[in-house]
Symmetry: C2
Subunit: 141 residues, 2 copies
């Protein structure tokens, strides 16, 4: 996922790529491995755009989430964290380390089985969210 890519999707949805939105997107693009809070996005974005406000950050993040450019997740149960969603849109999962609090992504997809069973029972599955809590290999020594 790169800026040009996002740019098209923005204008398709009727949004302009303002400097503020560009700054916010660049923060997310430059931190693809992280899961940032709105405040963290604000702080990073202010390095390029010192006057950007927190309201703009929240608004922009919400817009990007609603057009599936970002994923919004709550891990620790106090604030939301945002990340660029995978280009291939594969559902992906998380391991949250209970010691160092790092968040590691799991690309595997063993859920298809389960979903197939549920759909056989009449459910229609649109999205799924799987989190493991435990210790990462570093902390598990």
């Amino acid at each position: 996922m790169n800026l040009d890519n996002v740019k098209v999707r923005l204008s398709n949805a009727g949004y302009k790529l303002t400097p503020q939105r560009k700054a916010i997107l660049e923060v997310l693009i430059n931190n693809q491995d992280k899961h940032l809070t709105a405040e963290e996005v604000l702080n990073e974005a202010r390095r390029e755009m010192p006057n950007i406000g927190i309201a703009t950050v929240y608004r922009t993040l919400d817009n990007l989430v609603s057009m599936d450019i970002l994923d919004k997740n709550m891990f620790e149960g106090e604030r939301y964290r945002y990340e660029l969603s995978d280009a291939d849109n594969q559902p992906h999962h998380h391991i949250i380390c209970l010691k160092c609090n790092c968040i590691i992504e799991v690309e595997e997809d063993l859920l298809h089985n389960m979903e197939a069973q549920l759909e056989a029972k009449g459910f229609k599955i649109i999205d799924r969210e799987l989190k493991f809590f435990g210790y990462c290999p570093k902390c598990n020594k």
Copy 2:
């Protein structure tokens, strides 16, 4: 899970079964199929104990969570919901219907495979949380 059962675990943990705690527990026991918010627990509990306060509800719920009598979950991302945890302590999962917002439990456990793979990579999995979002059979017609 019944009251006598819980009573023992409470006193083992050094807590007394006060009338307030009893009222709160009875609410949870009588709503095993639901996932109640703190406010809903308060309203129900007040039918037996009109003067019980919200602070007591939060405190008691937290205590019960910390001794694994209750599970605490956030589904819609605005407030926590509480339920009696399974007696057999099987990890269980949820389907949240995007139309009627009902929460249905899934007793299946296809996660063992995944966990085994993760543990082979050095992780130690302590807990997991799996939610499906979609339409329940009733809403999927």
